[in-house]
Each structure stands twice: as C-alpha cells, then as structure tokens.
C-alpha cells in the first residue's frame, strides 16, 4: 500500500505549489503557465481515472464534457453577466460542471444501460462527435466553427487561474481519494472487476456506473470552464478536440490507471514533455509526443504507480497480471 508518507509528501507538495506565486517574478515565468496547464490536465485526468481507471468504462467523450463546460462558461458569461461579474465566478464554474454532468447523464443513460467494453467506448466517441457537429452547426447561438469569445477585460495576470487551477486539481484528487475509500468506490471497483458478480452482490450496476460517469463529466466540465477563463473564447476546434480525451488517458495510463496519485504524476510528466517539445520543436511537436506515447506504452504499459495491493512487495507487474480496466473476461488475451 501507498502508506501515509506518500500522502504527507503530497500535502507538502500542494503547500509548496500554493506558495509558488509568492516567489518574485514567478507569475510572469513560463513555468507558471506550465503549472496552470498541469492543473487543468490533472482535473481532466482524474475525471477519466474515475470513469475508466476505477469503474472500468473506457470513455472517449471526456473532451465533449470539457467542451460543454467551456461553452457553458462563455455563453452564460456573454449572455447573462456583466463585464466584471463573470470573471472566475464560482457559480459560473459550478454551472459549467453541472451542465457537463447533465450531458453525461443524458449520454450515459442510454449507452451504459446497453453497452459495455469497446462498444461503450465507440458509443461515447460517436456522441462526442455529434456534440461537436451540433456546436459547429449551432448558428448564432454557438458561433459556428469560429466559436464565441468573452471579454478579456478583467485579465491582469495568470495568478487567479493558477490558484483556482490548483484548488480544482487538489479537490478533484481528494474527491477521487475519498470516493474510493467509501462504499461507492468499493461498488465502482467491484463493477470494474466483474459486473455480474457486483450485480449479484446487490450493487445497482447501472446506477453506480452513471454516478461515476456524471462525476467524471462534472470534473471535465470544470476543467473546460477553467480553460475557457484562460483563452477567453471557445471554439469546436479548440475545445471539442479529441486530444482533451487522449492526453488524460495517456496521463492516467502512464502514471498508473486506477490509482489516486498516478494521474497527477502523469499530468506533471506529460505536460512537461508537451510544453518542452512545443517550445523547442514547435513544428515537430506531435512527432515527439506521438513517439513518446508509443515508447511509454511499449516499455511501461502498467504505469509508474501501479500499486499492487494484492501482492506483498512492489515488484513490477507482469504484463498479463495487470488489472484489466476492460470488464468482460473475453477481453483477456493472454498469449503464449
């Protein structure tokens, strides 16, 4: 098990991050922006971690919830709020998360009650694309493919973004940690391991899957809202981009899918690589990222923090022994 030490050092790290803005000149440094991006990614990665890592439902629609959150923020801010009132309005953040959660419920109910495994993954992908096309074709309401902008008047520094981002990242991580120690988390993990056995033990499988999916949607919506406050505009290309699903998956898998701190570690590392590649090799950036994705998957597919609770020591997991996040037993392909 991870032990208390890990959590103590995590708490110390959070404290250190909260004090970073006090360092002179820190707010204007590029690393400050990097950390903000890390926080956005942590919230998204935890959202995917909850749905896929813990509950075993591989979702390819987190970018859609991210986009819904961002659009909600900008649309409400431009339509209903005055010049200064919208900026980092907590109600606006909450509304964005809740709207995304509602979308998740609406999408999740038909999909989760009928589909599992790869079919569920493909279905979420389809719904995400439909939402994207809906936003592109939304006419004046959604601004079409150009999107909608909100006033960037209140922007002074990145400081509020940083602090809100840190708060949300910590809250998302703590939420996942607390959930997983509760009976809800137990039910979710039981569903991941064996949905039939979970149902036989009295777990309402559909309800818990929906709950996880909705909380995942809520977190992704919050991340989208936070990011919208940074770019001050939303567009289908920027927000409904599959990268917002794939990068969190990468971070989760790299750090350790289905662990509390794995996605955090993954977010720090992968964002560092993406940011560095973007600075030094702007044109070739996806080549580096793509190559790195492949290398990570080939050489450490179980992630850095794969906690093997069932085994005594922390020996590296054998490939076939890794916990399958997919759920049905016929997915297990153990080849000689």
């Amino acid at each position: 098990m991870a032990g208390n030490r890990l959590y103590k050092s995590a708490a110390a790290a959070v404290l250190a991050l909260a004090l970073v803005p006090l360092v002179p000149g820190a707010v204007d440094h590029y690393a400050f922006f990097y950390l903000f991006l890390v926080f956005v990614h942590i919230v998204l990665a935890q959202s995917w971690n909850l749905v896929a890592g813990y509950t075993g439902q591989i979702s390819l629609a987190q970018h859609a919830f991210f986009g819904v959150g961002g659009y909600t923020t900008v649309l409400i801010a431009t339509a209903l709020m005055d010049e200064s009132g919208f900026y980092f309005n907590p109600l606006l953040l909450l509304a964005s998360g809740l709207t995304a959660a509602l979308f998740a419920l609406a999408i999740g109910y038909p999909l989760l009650s009928k589909l599992a495994g790869d079919y569920f993954a493909l279905g979420t992908l389809g719904f995400g694309e439909i939402i994207r096309i809906g936003l592109v074709k939304g006419g004046a309401a959604t601004g079409g493919s150009a999107g909608v902008s909100m006033s960037s008047e209140p922007f002074e520094t990145l400081l509020p973004h940083y602090l809100v981002g840190l708060l949300l990242a910590v809250a998302a991580t703590v939420l996942v940690a607390v959930l997983m120690r509760s009976r809800i988390g137990l039910a979710l993990m039981a569903i991941r391991e064996d949905p039939v056995a979970a149902a036989a033990s009295g777990v309402n499988v559909l309800r818990f899957k929906l709950l996880a999916f909705a909380i995942g949607g809520f977190l992704a919506g919050l991340a989208g809202s936070l990011y919208a406050f940074y770019v001050f505009s939303v567009s289908p290309g920027g927000f409904l981009n599959l990268s917002w699903t794939l990068y969190p998956i990468l971070m989760c898998v790299m750090g350790g899918n289905g662990t509390v701190l794995g996605p955090v570690i993954g977010a720090f590392l992968m964002t560092a690589v993406f940011t560095a590649a973007n600075i030094w090799l702007p044109g070739a950036h996806p080549i580096i990222s793509g190559g790195l994705i492949i290398a990570v998957m080939l050489f450490m597919p179980e992630g850095i923090l794969r906690l093997k609770a069932k085994r005594a020591g922390r020996q590296p997991a054998k490939s076939a022994a890794a916990t399958p996040p997919g759920e049905s037993s016929n997915m297990q392909r153990r080849q000689a």
Binding site: A52, I58, P110, L111, K114, L115, D118, Y119, A121, L122, G123, L125, G126, F127, E129, I130, I133, G134, V136, K137, L242, L246, I249, L250, C252, V253, N257, G283, A284, H285, P286, I287, S289, G290, G291, L292, I293, I294, V296, M297, L298, P301, E302, S319, A320, A322, T323, P324, P325, G326, N330, M331, Q332, R333, R334, Q335, A336
Partner: protein
C-alpha cells in the same frame, strides 16, 4: 410522370450511386480495421493516417514517376503488407498480448500523431490531388453520370473484399485468422501461433489501408490531417456491418456512404452527424451489426 418528378428521381439516383461508390472506400478501410480488431482487439485509430500515407505514395508516384494510381496499387499492396508486418513486430507484438485495451489504443493514437505531423512537415499541409487524363471524365448509365475514378474505386473495393474473403475461407493461415478471432485461447490450444496470425492479420489490414489510400487519392483530395476523420468513418462502417464480418464491413461502408450523401443533400452540413447518429442507433439496438443474421458475441 412529370418532368419535375423524373428530375428529382435523377438527383436521388445520383445521390444513391455516389454514396455507394464513395462508401465502398470506407468499406475497404473498415475491413482492415475489422481484421485488426477481430484478432487483436485493437481499435486501430491510425488506420486513417495509414490510408492518407498510401494516398501520398500514390500521389508522389504519379507526380515524380508518372505512374498511374491504379498501377501504383499493384506495387503498393506488397509494400504495405511488409509495412504492416513490420508495424506489428515493432509496435503491437508485445502490447497485443496485454489485456489492457488502453495500451494498444494509445499506441495507435501515438502512431497517428507521428504520421500526421511527419506528413505535414515533409509535404506541407496543402491538400493534394491526382489529376490524370481521365479524372474528370465520366460515362452515363441509365441517365446517370458516373465518374470513372469513383467507379474504379468501387470495383477495386469489390475485388479487395472478394480477395480477403477468399483468403479467410480458403487458405490455412486465413482460417487461422478466423479461428483466433473466434477464440484466442482455444486456437492456441490447437497449435495456432497467435503472433504469426496477428502479424498476418495486421499486414492485410495495412495493405487494405494502402488500397483505400490509392483509390482515395485518385478520386479526391488528401491532406495530412484527413486521416483521423477516415478512422472514425471506418469505425462507423465497421459497427454498422458488425465487428468481425468482412462482407458486412463493406456493406456498412456503403450504407454510411449513402447516409452521408443523402443527408448532405437534404440537410447540408449535417452529413457527418447523421452518420454518427446511425452509428449510435445501431450500437444501441443492433450491436451485432445490421448484416449479421445469427447473434454472435464478439
């Protein structure tokens, strides 16, 4: 029948035929995906990027060597078979043995990113198309004008489907591919080497991407970032036809082509959305595919 009616019918007929012809290209891509998914369970999202790569091969063969794209097809097939085998050995051999699906999905995504970016860097993001002497020519059948390249693409797709079906039904290794798709453990028990079968299935899948790329470049314009959309379309075609069903994948592609061409006429701009909607409906209500008679668990 009034003149107006026959004109409307003509438009509908042309929409239908164009949808069928273009959809056959989705079908070829979907057959490749189906082989790769059936044996290894990989959702190979890089299929579209491989198709575009095949398209660029045809484009450069035409531009630099003056080779006709349909002639290139003959050369490209063995090359892409080799590329597919190499890709399997380098990237998927180890990961295909894992029960964790995220790994292979992410490797495919990484490959797709690299290919897109590399193609864009080497050949610029400008759209390209092959203009041969016959590109804009067509012929008339029953009052409908058919383009030569689209019809040729359709014929290539039919032949490719036929060849793959024969391969799966008649050859030993093809039968092994089907056996592994049915039940990996049982086929290993009767002495089938999964790695060999996986490699062959992967190679054939990539060869089909090459075929689709050649016909695509001969018919339409390609650009480095077109691939992802193609992957999605191929996935939809696959789901419409039923996973692990070669004829069904082609039929699914054709159906998707018809849906898109029809809805782009009646609801301009919503063509893609209609495709996804059909995809979701089929997933929800007939996940075994539209063209499978018996319920078959994948």
């Amino acid at each position: 029948m009034t003149a107006f009616d026959s004109a409307t019918l003509g438009v509908l007929g042309e929409l239908l035929v164009n949808g069928v012809l273009f959809g056959s290209m989705y079908g070829v891509a979907a057959i490749g995906l189906s082989l790769i998914f059936g044996t290894m369970g990989i959702i190979f999202l890089a299929q579209g990027a491989m198709i575009v790569l095949g398209g660029y091969a045809a484009y450069w063969a035409f531009r630099l060597l003056g080779l006709d794209p349909y002639l290139t097809l003959v050369v490209l097939m063995p090359v892409s078979l080799l590329v597919g085998a190499a890709l399997y050995q380098m990237l998927f051999r180890r990961a295909a043995a894992l029960s964790d699906r995220n790994t292979t999905l992410l490797i495919a995504v990484g490959l797709s990113f690299m290919l897109e970016s590399a193609m864009s860097l080497m050949w610029t993001p400008d759209p390209r198309s092959i203009t041969t002497t016959y590109t804009s020519s067509g012929f008339e059948i029953a009052g409908m004008r058919l383009s030569v390249t689209r019809t040729a693409g359709f014929l290539v797709a039919i032949v490719a489907t036929f060849v793959v079906t024969l391969f799966l039904r008649r050859t030993m290794i093809g039968k092994a591919v089907r056996a592994v798709s049915e039940d990996m453990v049982a086929s290993t028990l009767v002495g089938i080497s999964p790695h060999r079968v996986n490699m062959v299935a992967f190679a054939v899948g990539i060869a089909l991407a090459g075929v689709a790329g050649c016909t695509l470049a001969a018919t339409y314009t390609i650009d480095p970032y077109f691939g992802f959309l193609l992957s999605l379309k191929a996935l939809i075609a696959l789901a419409l036809g039923g996973l692990g069903n070669v004829g069904g994948a082609l039929a699914g592609g054709i159906l998707l082509g018809v849906i898109e061409s029809g809805s782009s006429y009646f609801l301009p701009g919503w063509g893609d959305a209609m495709g996804y909607a059909a995809f979701l409906l089929v997933l929800l209500f007939r996940p075994q595919g539209l063209f499978v008679r018996a319920m078959k668990k994948v």
